[in-house]
């Protein structure tokens, strides 16, 4: 998946009215709650075959960190 596509998908998963950017800080999103984290986990499992845990997500600061979590599944 291309990075731009991922950012659009992320906007949808989080149900954000505003676009997502790499430098955005996750904790500053109103939408970054437990339900969204579960939705992210499901998204990574379905699209990348990666099992992400809540602990993994707790460590992340920015959208860029979220992209890095997918490794080579997201093209730069």
């Amino acid at each position: 998946m291309k990075k731009e596509e991922f950012l659009v998908e992320l906007e949808d998963v989080l149900q954000r009215e505003e676009p997502c950017n790499e430098t955005d800080i996750l904790e500053e999103y109103d939408e970054w709650d437990s339900l969204s984290k579960m939705a992210i986990m499901a998204f990574y499992s379905k699209n990348f075959g990666i099992n992400v845990t809540l602990n993994d997500l707790k460590e992340l600061k920015t959208v860029e960190d979220l992209i890095k979590l997918a490794g080579d599944k997201i093209d730069a």
Partner: protein, 246 residues
């Protein structure tokens, strides 16, 4: 009696007959804007011709099971056309009486498509905060008394309706933080085209002390649950059965 403003926009599915028609007409009469969805254009136009405020009754021809995966996108497109939604009454459905020995997988699946999968995916679209008004949004789905006490031949039907109740309970917990309420109503036999099977009616009539209900008996509850009068109620299943079960 609940009242609404024209800025309150509600989707009503199965709006061309029975409970959906009664709900669409009642919501419209009480001031809401209704997006009436069904497959049959002629019958939808008939409903529109009966409504009190035709300028606030919009019809949309749609077969909900044609592309269930695409229903959230469909809701988004409707939102772009009509504005953010105050809620939905999911009244589409089929009631088929097929004993297990005659039931095949296609019938089982088709029953679940319209009675369970479609309402869940439409609800997914409605509860997306980009598509609703937030606080005050209310979703009501028609389940059935068969979800609680099913009879012979209701293998597919009762399963689909029980699944709907259980899943909407889960959804109600997911969305309550956004001020969205989700409830089910569980009617027993109501006089609608869907239940008009003479032999079946005959076998059931002694079960209901107050007789078979009329569509408005259920629509009254749906409209109440959609309204702000029910602002403290979510995640519930309301049996409407003429006192036959309890």
């Amino acid at each position: 009696m609940p009242s609404f403003s024209r800025e309150q926009v509600y989707i009503v599915t199965g709006a061309s007959s029975g409970l959906g028609e009664a709900t669409a007409l009642m919501l419209n009469e009480r001031g809401a804007t209704v997006i009436a969805i069904a497959r049959n254009e002629k019958r939808l136009l008939d409903v529109k011709s009966k409504c009190k405020n035709p300028e606030n009754m919009h019809i949309e021809i749609k077969d909900l099971v044609e592309d269930i995966e695409g229903l959230p996108q469909y809701v988004k497109e409707l939102k772009e056309k009509y504005g953010k939604f105050s809620g939905m009454a999911y009244c589409a459905g089929i009631s088929n009486i097929i004993p297990l020995r005659a039931l095949d997988f296609a019938q089982l699946e088709n029953t679940h498509k319209i009675n369970f999968y479609a309402p869940i995916m439409l609800t997914k679209g409605i509860v997306d905060k980009r598509n609703n008004i937030g606080q005050g949004t209310s979703i009501v789905a028609i389940s059935s008394i068969a979800s609680k006490c099913s009879d012979k031949g209701h293998v597919a039907y009762s399963g689909s309706k029980a699944a709907l109740c259980a899943s909407l309970k889960s959804i109600s917990k997911e969305v309550i933080a956004n001020g969205i309420r989700v409830n089910c109503v569980l009617p027993s036999n109501i006089k609608t085209p869907m239940t008009a099977i003479e032999e079946y009616e005959e076998s059931q009539k002694n079960l209901y002390p107050l007789g078979f209900g009329e569509p408005n008996d259920v629509a009254n509850m749906i409209v109440y649950l959609l309204s702000d009068k029910a602002k403290y109620i979510s995640g519930q299943n309301y049996i409407i059965d003429s006192g036959g079960v309890l």
